[in-house]
């Protein structure tokens, strides 16, 4: 077993009104960033898991997203590439 870090992005689904993103976009426009088309605010989670390989790590975190980390009614999730971490169980 090795220790993998799997980063997860959780973002509001398309079509879901994101008032937080709209408020941030408004503030940035006030600061002179006139070219903003849209901002969506989501959540970033890193999960460190002991797994046999990267695919195993990704599979586990995918199941975590489906069960708890994301709500499919309102959120999409994107798994990033796992990276090997020091200190895994053998």
């Amino acid at each position: 077993m090795q220790l993998y870090r799997v980063p997860v992005q959780i973002i509001p689904r398309p079509g879901i009104l994101d008032p937080q993103g709209a408020a941030v976009a408004g503030a940035l426009r006030t600061l002179g960033f006139d070219n903003i088309a849209d901002i969506r605010v989501g959540r970033f989670i890193t999960v460190d898991v002991n797994a046999t390989d990267a695919q195993d790590a990704t599979g586990m975190v995918r199941r975590m997203c489906e069960k708890l980390l994301a709500n499919p009614v309102i959120e999409d999730f994107v798994l990033e590439e796992p990276t090997l971490q020091p200190g895994g169980q053998s």
């Binding site: 879901i16 009104l17 008032p19 937080q20 408020a23 708890l68 980390l69 709500n71 009614v73 309102i74």
Partner: protein, 230 residues
Amino acid sequence: MKFGIVTFPGSNGDYDAFHAAADAIGEESVYLWHKDHDLKDCDVIILPGGFSYGDYLRPGAIARFSPIMNEVVAHARRGAPVLAICNGFQVACEAGLLPGALLRNASLRFVSRVVTMRVENASSMFTREYFKGQVLSIPVAHGDGRYTADSDVIARLEGEGGVAFRYCSPAGTVSSEDNVNGAVNGIAGILNDAGNVLGMMPHPERAADPILGTTDGLGVFHSLLGGVIA
């Protein structure tokens, strides 16, 4: 009729719900601890308001995996009544007892005040003591009350009596001005398909005693008894 009020870590509406059930309508009531597996033969389960597990991740997301929720879901699947208020509504949606989800208020502000809502379905076990179109004064206190669901779910709720309550003006008209949190179609409360689970953001238990300024929430409790309000 025996009421069971679930206490999660972070619940703050459990005592209010207990007071409404035990004192306002005088029914036997017990608290149910979230780590227990025993519903203690309760007929009605109340998932109360509050901030279970600090609303971490998403409101209700962690509470839905509390041990007692297995029994609450089984209770609901048997057709027995579950009244899910505010945070309880969020828990019920996360647990799949009700469709849809509750998002951050469109205003991004926590709202705590008395609002008016209209009874849309007056034939359910929770609302039969009201009449259709009746306008109720009832408090809300939430930051994440913006009900949303896929358009086909909304169409089904609207078409089949699934919308129990809708935010409205004191005169009973519906407009975005009276929509306290930006919910789709101003939806304040919904019923599941079988009609035995009611989820609502407003607090009927905080409108169940004259000292609170409004008793318009009492009808929810009296409806469950099948009794008659004077």
